[in-house]
Amino acid sequence: MEATPGIETGRRGRAWHAALLLLSVPLGVALAVALWRVPYAISETVAVLEDVQRQNVLSFFDLSHAYVRPVFYALLVGVWTAADSLATAVAWMKGLHVATALLVVGAFVALVRPRNALSLGAAAVAVTVLVGSPGFRDNLENLPLNQMLLVMLVALPTWALVERPRRWWHGLAFVAATALAIGLKEQGLLLGVAVVAAGLMRAPGVSRGAMVALTALVIAYLGLRILTPGTWEVFMQDVGLGFRRMPRQEALTRFGDWPYGVYLYSMTSTALRVLFAEPTDGVFGFMRQALDGEYQTWAVIEVLSSTALTIVIGWWGLRAWRERHSSEGATAWRLAVVTGLIVAGSGAFGFNFTRDRFGGLAAPFYALCAFHALRAAAERAAQGRRLLLWPAVVLLLALAGAWQVRAIGTVLYLRATAEKNQREWLIDVRLRRATFADREVYLSTIDALVEQGLRPLSGRGGRDPRWYRIFGSW
């Protein structure tokens, strides 16, 4: 096995890695169980499955639409065609979705390589940063499958190749991974940008040829997209602005003539949500609570833990910049810059409106930075002045605890989502049938899915620990 610079390999390294895997197992199992019991949502899933049955595969490659996701739909069509019944197809899609989520966590665990007890602790916290981040949580939605989760799964091994010694096939792998990511969701373009940026900063795994090919791919896709005529709505969904969510129609009336200010706001909001956990969907809910003097513990934990971690990452990034001429410093500096680019790029893609899921691709990179930053901070605390040791220990303990709570919150969020989706199946079926009475395939899909929507949910017994109340209705 080839070594990534500065990272211990061999039997001792593998033991630390195995310990990290072991620590992550309960989280992985809880995620898998919670995801498996979530019924498909009536709202979006039925419409997606209707498209899969009705539309020609080639129509998914039409660049004139606002959303272009040909690989995602091809994947769904593939599962749909291979299955002998709708029930089998739906079960396969759910299995694939759960596997994707677990593989993202698994790929992350494979990528962070603890080499001692301190870095094992930092890696364990980083796993909770990934799972507890809004970008990851929001993309656990089963549409069926989830495009962004699949993009994350493509991005993590790609980044591992970037930092590995160069091989002849790396360039092909980067181009294939970027093309695949773009086909799943257009934010996948950022993967190509990230690899080129790392290459420009002399990443060992990226050749000049790969950079040229990736640049050509990204420019060609953007060119095709811009030159293809199509109708783009000024605001496609409701817009979060300030302290409230503005209905799409109101946003059109107020800002339709010059929407660029709102676009800039939405772009900034996506980036701020990744870094500071506020605003949510463009709405400064926590700040509103603060002004009203009514704090929700959950919101406080989110904002404080994100802000504190971003400060630690900022300190580490500055240190990486100072040490960028050393091998390990250069690796860290590349990661910091690429993460910055992906956070900014995720914001740019969410110009029209912002949602937590837009921060999906940024989540694993932010968590990777968290690993390196927390390890550096922990080493600094252990080696620094004795007077500062205990305050540092308390701060690290609080930060690790807050992110652990957030990771548990993600599992509880899935539990609440299961109940919400079931409630929709209970209540909305007749209304949907009436609204879409002329869409035969839609109706047959609803009929086929209604049983899974009403199936009694497992795990309703047993009492939650009292402290779970901080999650409110989750």
Binding site: Q383, L397, A400
Partner: protein
């Protein structure tokens, strides 16, 4: 400055302790989520109680196991019946309480379209003033062909 093994361990423990505690909570949560749903506690008025308290998922389980939302039964309720015993159906209770979600669920999944007791409930809804559930019910179901009977 080189760190002692003790200092190193304290800092490592600070990072790992929440993870170890979290693993215990998550294992417990996973085990609870994987537990098959418990058997429903059945009683004669269980569905009425569920309609009164608005517990959708409990009502769903009862109906999945055969309870009938349009089967009349006796009810004594301070607010709804003025403390008198009145014979009503769970669907009528949901309507009287204006529980939009409960009404939708009962009509969506558990009341047969041809059941004449739906018409009775529809007539009751037409006499209730306002409320989202009443309006929803009216949207879902036309009045019986012969109109509603006069109140005694």
């Amino acid at each position: 400055m080189a760190a002692s093994r003790g200092t190193w361990s304290v800092v490592a423990l600070a990072l790992m302790l929440p993870g170890l505690a979290g693993a215990v909570f998550l294992a417990d949560l996973a085990a609870r989520l994987a537990t098959p749903p418990p058997a429903v506690q059945r009683s004669q008025d269980a569905l009425m109680d569920a309609a009164l308290t608005g517990t959708l998922t409990h009502a769903l389980r009862l109906m999945q196991e055969g309870d009938d939302p349009v089967m009349p039964g006796p009810l004594v309720h301070g607010e709804l019946t003025g403390g008198q015993e009145v014979t009503v159906t769970p669907l009528a209770i949901a309507l009287a309480l204006g529980d939009d979600n409960m009404v939708h669920m009962m009509l969506n999944h558990f009341v047969h379209p041809e059941d004449p007791r739906r018409a009775q409930a529809r007539c009751l809804a037409s006499r209730l003033k306002g409320g989202a559930a009443t309006e929803a019910f009216a949207d879902l179901l036309p009045l019986p062909d012969g109109g509603c009977p006069d109140l005694p």
